[in-house]
Symmetry: C3
Subunit: 359 residues, 3 copies
């Protein structure tokens, strides 16, 4: 009996600048995924819940939740990009380009846009730009991500170094607004809040009132649904020997939980347009209870549109502490600034919201 290897994923040396990696396995999203996402997060954002409301706004059907589509598209990149990752360093320029509907099939590919070997020569940083397209080959999602990856052999020759230009935010001109959207007839009765784009001010902070405890079954069901197969989320036996002594929650699911919690206060943030940056500042585990607050960072009119505006928000996700008891996500000790140990998420993102001025 002999033994043969499965793919063990790519090491730093395996990446070539400019190469395109086509990720298995394309995935058809369905009503089953949409319902599961509601059960896993409790999300109530209207475009993903109510077909007639979505239709009245110009969408073909109710849409698959922006983050559900993202997690599935992102999960596809894990086997090729981050299975050997030491650390997920960051992501940027996440754009939610077109709506995804039940029945759409997403396939995802990544282009290596940057490489930098670390001075230790044991690891390197890989930058990729990933694009997820639907069955009509239309781009529905794209993002940049960079990860630190092990080298197979620290003696292998250093690759060329190229560090791509990464934007700190998706600017208002680049925000993807769905062409058929018409929010002029938006009825706030469907969301239960009359607070629209006009009513928010830069600097405002919203402490969302609800908390949600996430159990091990919940987050592993979610991450399996996303077909993200990073072992540390699933394998409690292996993780018992890690510094965490147990399974880690997928950070993307923490974003989803916080987004769902943010409904109370941001009811009319009907779509996510972009994620500008994100930090998973502390690990999360089954049994943790999440809360969050949002701060308005920027408020943008959208060129050529009076029916919707954009808000750039900073979402702070915390666990096992109420937002009102945390003035600041950082602790300042001895001149150093570190995230408070209960802060698990610091997300810079942009949402679309109907405007009052059209009414």
């Amino acid at each position: 009996m002999n033994s043969k290897q499965y793919s063990t994923g790519r090491f730093f040396e395996d990446f070539r600048l400019g190469e395109e990696i086509i990720h298995p396995t394309p995935r058809t999203l369905t009503e089953g995924d949409a319902s599961l996402y509601i059960a896993l997060t409790g999300s109530r954002f209207i475009l993903h819940c109510a077909q007639p409301v979505a239709h009245a706004l110009g969408y073909t059907n109710k849409t698959i939740d922006d983050l559900l589509a993202f997690h599935i598209a992102f999960g596809k990149t894990v086997p090729d990009i981050s299975v050997n990752a030491v650390a997920n360093l960051g992501y940027a320029e996440v754009k939610f380009i077109e709506p995804v509907y039940s029945g759409d099939t997403l396939h995802t590919a990544s282009t290596v846009i940057g490489l930098k070997e670390n001075t230790s020569r044991k690891t390197g940083i890989v930058y990729v730009r990933s694009v997820s397209r639907n069955q009509n080959n239309r781009e529905v999602l794209s993002w940049i991500r960079w990860v630190m990856v092990h080298k197979k052999d620290s003696d292998s020759p250093a690759s060329d170094t190229f560090i791509p230009d990464i934007k700190s935010k998706v600017s208002v001109e680049d925000l993807p607004i769905y062409g058929s959207l018409d929010a002029n007839a938006f009825d706030t009765l469907v969301t239960g809040s009359t607070k629209l784009w006009d009513d928010f001010s830069v600097g405002e902070r919203i402490d969302h009132p609800s908390g949600m405890t996430v159990d091990d079954s919940d987050h592993t069901l979610a991450t399996k649904l996303y077909q993200n197969n990073a072992k540390l989320h699933f394998d409690d036996f292996m993780m018992k020997d890690s510094q965490f002594a147990r399974r880690l929650m997928y950070g993307g699911h923490v974003i989803s939980i916080c987004r769902a919690l943010s409904y109370d206060g941001l009811e009319n943030a009907i779509a996510i347009l972009a994620i500008n940056a994100g930090t998973h500042s502390n690990p999360s585990f089954g049994g943790d209870t999440f809360y969050c607050w949002n701060e308005v960072i920027e408020k943008w009119e959208i060129p050529g549109r009076m029916d919707v505006g954009a808000l750039r928000l900073r979402m702070i996700g915390v666990k096992n502490v109420l937002p009102k008891n945390l003035k600041d996500p950082f602790e300042h000790t001895q001149g150093k600034k570190n995230y408070h140990p209960n802060v698990v998420l610091d997300l810079d993102y942009t949402v679309m919201m109907p405007r009052k001025t059209n009414q």
Copy 2:
């Protein structure tokens, strides 16, 4: 940085007799919800499981489980009606008026039909009649519910008192029977039991044989699916300081578990027509194992129909004790009658069952 409030729900003073409250957020029910409901309860009632069987009985498609539709419709009322509730006092006249199918969108509104301030002046009782309609604006569900709600200010003037007339049961004349139903060709092979309406006797008790343990993940997934956002079901961190020291299970989900368990013995109770009254006599938690029995309270012919009859049933749900070890849901001590501490549900409801006499 300033802070702005989300809606904190209504207090007693905020309700006006006769006012209609339109609840966010309309919800499209799908096959995803139906499958999740099976996974969460193990339900096997035939109208919700088998398209050809439902179709042969006159339905357009297999129907969304009566209780799933109810929980979702009910969940919509929580933010407006019961977020500040001290206690859910009761519900009555729950009518399952029309079948709900995958693809239907339910929107729910409540009318304030009664108000009564308590003598303490700190709380009051609000009575609402809620109606859930589908995308064609047809009533599919309606019910009456009354809750005790905090006053914002105990010194605020007392409102007018009006206590509505609430029926102790939905009478046989008012039972909603689906117009296109024709159960003359009902085949008991599909349910596995030949025991039909004719075979049940008033006074009969059926101890259902199976038990089901419900974990925290299960009941929170269910309650998130129902988009019921009452905090005490989800927030273990907050609940640690409560008398229960942990998350409470949504009582409606206990009804669903008991209904699913009742399949063995009530296989042909193909639809729920009404819920007449219900008491959640003790709290339930993750890890509890549920059992139930049903007693036949009344047996009704349905005017003008020979194919189906109605049974008014009393369902007693218990936890962590076998029904055969409980003769009575009550304990009688020192002249006082209290629910046995393991009794969690006392539900008075009416089901439809095909009749033998048509065969």
Copy 3:
């Protein structure tokens, strides 16, 4: 108040050689079931995930996972066949005859093909051949199974003894290949592995790299989805008094977990054609972490086809131990051969895989 009985299932004396038992309740499978199956297993096999890929291979739509369809069909037989079973002794000749699609309704019937009373006269063995058909009455699944069942009365007369001929494997001539399949254009980019039928050798062992912890919520959700109502999977209160002191995981779900884990290394095993035999060698519980390996037992060309071949595999499922640390599923002590206590599954099955030679 009197008490009436539900069906308590069949005892040995209730089975007659040659009789056909039609099992309740037919079940329509939907996209909801398919999504839940992904969430419960993390499965990534391409025919069940991606509509355009399945369509390009000749299928009408993406197919319901072979094992999901099997578990649901199998679950239907539990109330009639194995509710009073002392032991599930074995299954064989499981054939995946036709694809199952979302919207198909399966109904299952079993024929008693063998009976043998045990010498104790307290139990007997019942052999059934079960067939699951879709709404067009086409056979989609069939299998043989034998269980040891209690006698109601050890003094009742012995039945005739008939032991059916059971094949040790589904031979290559009998493998069901879907008629419209055309894998000539199969593109390995969709699965991420270029390792096709031609690349496997008899005797080869593949240690699959990932592990998966399954919690109590997960496996009970799965088994409820399958509508398998065997009490020992659900009723923790009852099981506290058993030798296991807790709920047992449904063995079929362990097969599903292992099949999902086998994706890394068997990416192109796009369909299961047959299960030849299976042993659930040790019980599994919530909290166990599963791993598996596969060995190639036989490699078959399929008569008349150059696009796909078959591999007969032996899948060993283990818990809480890495495959690399187990050379052999058996322990040999004092001349006796027993399964290692961490081996939970020994499955002999046959998969279909596209061939290189057509490219």
